[in-house]
């Protein structure tokens, strides 16, 4: 047989296994950590700001971690996932079992998660921190997050337009379902749970994990929707001045909402 194999065909097994693995680590694990970090807003502005300080203490290395450990694996999983989704043929109209519906839902929630994550990163982070791009994003009302005014900028971004919280609620629900169901299918793909009884037990555990993460995600969303952004900003500015003085935080105007105000403050606050 003389067959010209495409790159994807030649490496199909490896690519599918990497796709499966990236769904769990780093992408799925990151999502859980991210939602839990966000839910720390329920412990107050200080708790959330401290968590963000910790992440941003990576400094210049942060961009490499973001791209190497999060964005690139996510983009691989998402783009290859779209390819997989289009290579299947839905047939729930003839075979309407719950498992078959979940097979369909896994693909649809993946697509929703893709759209959501692309717009979410644009909304908060802006994707690239280079001059002209940042200006463009700001003019579109995107790239709203400032790491040293973490809670207030997140809250304002969320409260700017009712469309955002709706998009976030749908996006979080889709991502969490996709993750929980994905962990379950992953256990079959890798042969972790084998017998029907074991698959059923694993199914319950995955469902419980999913419900738990969904609650965490929604409470974070609720927390930012109801936060008093002005009060939060005052707290953050006080924390910033203190943290710069103690050397905990490296001053960076781009991570602030109102850098001028704080420069003045820093000037007068010096002993």
């Amino acid at each position: 047989m003389t067959n010209e194999l495409t790159f994807i065909q030649k490496h199909e097994f490896l690519l599918r296994r990497i796709h499966s693995l990236t769904g769990l680590v780093p992408v799925g694990l990151y999502m859980c950590v991210h939602l839990i970090t966000n839910a720390s807003i329920l412990n107050g502005v200080e708790a959330f700001q401290n968590a963000v300080y910790a992440i941003h203490s990576l400094g210049n290395a942060l961009v490499f971690v973001e791209w190497g450990a999060i964005f690139l694996p996510l983009l691989f999983h998402a783009i290859f996932g779209v390819y997989i989704a289009y290579s299947g043929q839905f047939n729930t109209s003839s075979y309407g079992t719950a498992k078959n519906w979940r097979y369909v839902a896994q693909r649809i929630t993946g697509l929703i998660a893709f759209v959501f994550i692309v717009s979410h990163v644009a909304h908060m982070h802006g994707w690239f921190h280079v001059g002209f791009w940042e200006k463009l994003m700001h003019s579109l009302g995107l790239a709203q997050f400032r790491a040293y005014n973490a809670a207030s900028t997140a809250a304002m971004a969320m409260q700017a337009n009712i469309v955002w919280p709706i998009l976030y609620a749908i996006g979080i629900a889709a991502s969490v379902f996709h993750f929980a169901n994905g962990v379950w299918t992953m256990g079959i793909t890798w042969g972790v749970w084998i017998s029907p009884a074991a698959q059923k037990r694993a199914d319950r555990i995955c469902a419980a994990i999913g419900v738990g993460i969904l609650l965490i995600g929604f409470s974070a969303l609720g927390g930012f929707m109801t936060l008093d952004a002005q009060k939060a900003e005052d707290i953050e500015n006080r924390m910033y001045t203190e943290s710069v003085n103690t050397g905990r935080v490296v001053p960076n105007a781009k991570k602030l909402t109102n850098p001028k105000l704080l420069e003045e403050q820093a000037g007068t606050a010096k002993p």
Partner: protein
């Protein structure tokens, strides 16, 4: 069953196709009702009097069957939209479940149609060859009796061995896409078969073949070919194509635990691939 609401006729709608690659079309037939008919007997009645509902005489319908007791798998087709064996599909049961009172027959949608309800199932058997679904016992010398198998092992293997290669699991699998190669004018049978094999060889082997690989890898003599079977399972169109919809296990007429076999094979190929990488 002497129900008073028995219909006087059985309405049958058949999806027909005159040859490979040609357009399909529907024909309607009315068969006088009789008790205890199955789909094959209905098809025989139509063959005896191939006249459609509007009185048109047509070519008899082509179909496949063999054992008539749900062990050969050759009579598999879509009956009221679902894949199953036509020999064991009883008209009285179908009418109970079908509100329209109509019986709809179609060829399987995942295999190339040869004619009417007959499809070319070569890909099913090509997949079995790919995973070497046999034990190697042929040779010039007497190899003596095979190793003993424990009772638990026999009991685990028996259900897997019941597969009749009917293709129900493949028809229902959302990851199993149809492969059809149209014969070119003047192409020899051999050249055509070669092209079909090439096209099939990179497409999904399907749950039935994964299950057979697991069966023969669990056999003490079959184990000699274990590594080759696992290798075949990771080739293009291998086990990685499965998307865990679990339709296969839901439709298998032999109730073979296909998704258990898929998970077992999934574990075995992972170990195999990691070992190979570090060897």
């Amino acid at each position: 069953m002497i129900a008073s609401n028995q219909p006087s006729v059985i309405k049958v709608r058949v999806k027909r196709q005159d040859g490979p690659g040609q357009a399909a079309y529907w024909q309607h037939f009315d068969i006088p009702y009789e008790e205890n008919l199955n789909i094959i007997s209905v098809l025989q009645k139509i063959a005896a009097k191939p006249i459609t509902r509007d009185g048109q005489r047509v070519a008899p319908i082509a179909w496949d069957c063999g054992c008539l007791e749900e062990v050969c798998g050759s009579c598999t087709m879509l009956i009221n939209g679902r894949v199953r064996q036509s020999c064991s599909a009883l008209i009285d049961r179908l009418l109970e479940d079908s509100p329209s009172g109509e019986v709809v027959l179609e060829p399987m949608s995942k295999f190339p149609v040869v004619r009417d309800l007959v499809v070319d199932r070569a890909r099913i058997f090509q997949a079995l060859k790919k995973v070497k679904a046999w034990v190697e016992v042929d040779g010039y010398f007497d190899m003596g009796p095979g190793p003993k198998q424990s009772r638990t092992q026999q009991e685990a293997a028996y259900p897997l061995s019941e597969c009749m290669s009917c293709g129900c699991c493949l028809e229902a699998c959302p990851q199993y896409a149809k492969v059809e190669v149209i014969r070119e004018a003047g192409e020899s049978e051999e050249a055509y078969r070669q092209r079909v094999e090439a096209a099939n060889s990179v497409a999904f082997i399907g749950p039935h073949a994964i299950n057979q690989a697991v069966l023969f890898n669990s056999n003490p003599t079959g184990q000699f070919k274990k590594a080759e079977r696992l290798e075949a399972l990771t080739e293009p169109g291998g086990i990685q194509v499965c998307g865990n919809a679990q339709n296969c296990v839901a439709v298998c007429p032999k109730h073979i635990p296909l998704t258990t076999s898929i998970a077992q094979a999934g574990r075995a190929v992972t170990v195999h691939a990691v070992k190979k990488f570090f060897e």
